[in-house]
């Protein structure tokens, strides 16, 4: 279906429009309505996110040898969306870690049949003690909250098997992402860096990670970057 903007009707009077503009008449603008329209256009859609993130993950992991039934660890997991999506695509089992009771409660509300394959650890990342290392260590919307990234990236490395992979998903710096956070002040809380692909890769390399591939989302309400690392 073709999307048309408001002023593209065939009977729009361009002559009148330019005449009024030439005469210094500024078209009226209901800022509240426009703001609400933009907020609505740029609102989170979990179904769309699943599809767009799934596509990004497929491109990111194309040709990469992921062990059968991989063990996955998601740091700062929230409801574990990234891990649950990876489990949908690659099977396996996972551990979600977050220190937020609200996230844990939210996870329990939406826990689906993957719940049998997921363990939730309600604990701070920096005091995390786990007896195993993982085939995939991942995070979604975590590292951008840290100005100094060495420590948080070290936690990723610490729990990743030597032959395992790390997947980091972060919001990317773009006009779209900036606009998204601008019109959603209720989500724009705390410290958050928006990174370009170049800067993100530089920061990962500076912390001793080896980026293998990076993919940028297409078609979501903000842009995000997914990076596969060793």
């Amino acid at each position: 279906m073709i999307y048309t903007t408001k002023n593209t009707s065939a009977d729009f009077d361009w002559t009148e429009y330019f005449t009024r503009l030439h005469n210094g008449e500024i078209p009226s603008l209901d800022t509240h309505i426009y703001f609400q329209n933009i907020r609505h256009l740029l609102s989170e859609n979990a179904h769309l996110l699943g599809l767009v993130l799934g596509d990004v993950l497929r491109k990111l992991l194309k040709g990469v040898q992921i062990k059968t039934d991989p063990r996955m660890l998601e740091l700062g997991a929230g409801t574990g969306f990234l891990t649950r999506l990876l489990l949908t695509m690659y099977q396996g089992s996972g551990v979600l870690v977050d220190n937020c009771q609200t996230s844990f409660d939210a996870y329990n509300k939406i826990a689906d049949k993957h719940a049998d394959h997921i363990t939730y650890v309600l604990q701070d990342l920096f005091t995390l003690e786990l007896a195993e290392t993982f085939d995939v260590v991942c995070s979604f919307g975590l590292i951008e909250h840290f100005k100094e990234k060495n420590e948080i990236l070290s936690v990723h490395k610490q729990f990743c098997k030597e032959d395992g992979h790390m997947i980091l998903v972060v919001p990317m710096d773009s006009f779209l992402t900036r606009a998204y956070y601008e019109v959603h002040p209720e989500l724009n809380l705390g410290y958050r860096e928006l990174l370009t692909k170049k800067t993100a890769l530089e920061q990962l390399r500076a912390s001793g990670l080896e980026p293998i591939r990076a993919e940028v989302s297409q078609g979501y309400v903000y842009d995000f970057l997914a990076i596969l690392c060793k």
Partner: protein, 83 residues
């Protein structure tokens, strides 16, 4: 089995609500109805690729291809091997 029924069965097997509450036509938007969770779209993509031996390209990963049974069927039929 008809393609429509095959897709309907897959949706019904992945409901997040009780079967008794479910009643939808081939044109109803399954995402807006809240019958499936946010992982379903990707699960459906994987199902279509394996069941119908198709490859779904990045530029085809649009929600409008997968939001109704009719759209899913039309999408599958539009792929060359199913023409």
């Amino acid at each position: 089995m008809q393609l429509h029924e095959q897709i309907r069965e897959f949706i019904l097997a992945n409901l997040v609500v009780f079967d008794d509450d479910v009643d939808f036509t081939n044109d109803d938007n399954i995402f807006e109805l809240g019958f499936v969770n946010s992982l379903f779209a990707m699960k459906l993509v994987t199902f279509i690729e394996s069941e119908f031996r198709l490859t779904i390209e990045s530029d085809e990963m649009e929600i409008s291809n997968f939001n109704t049974i009719n759209n899913i069927v039309n999408f599958i039929q539009s792929k060359s091997v199913y023409k």
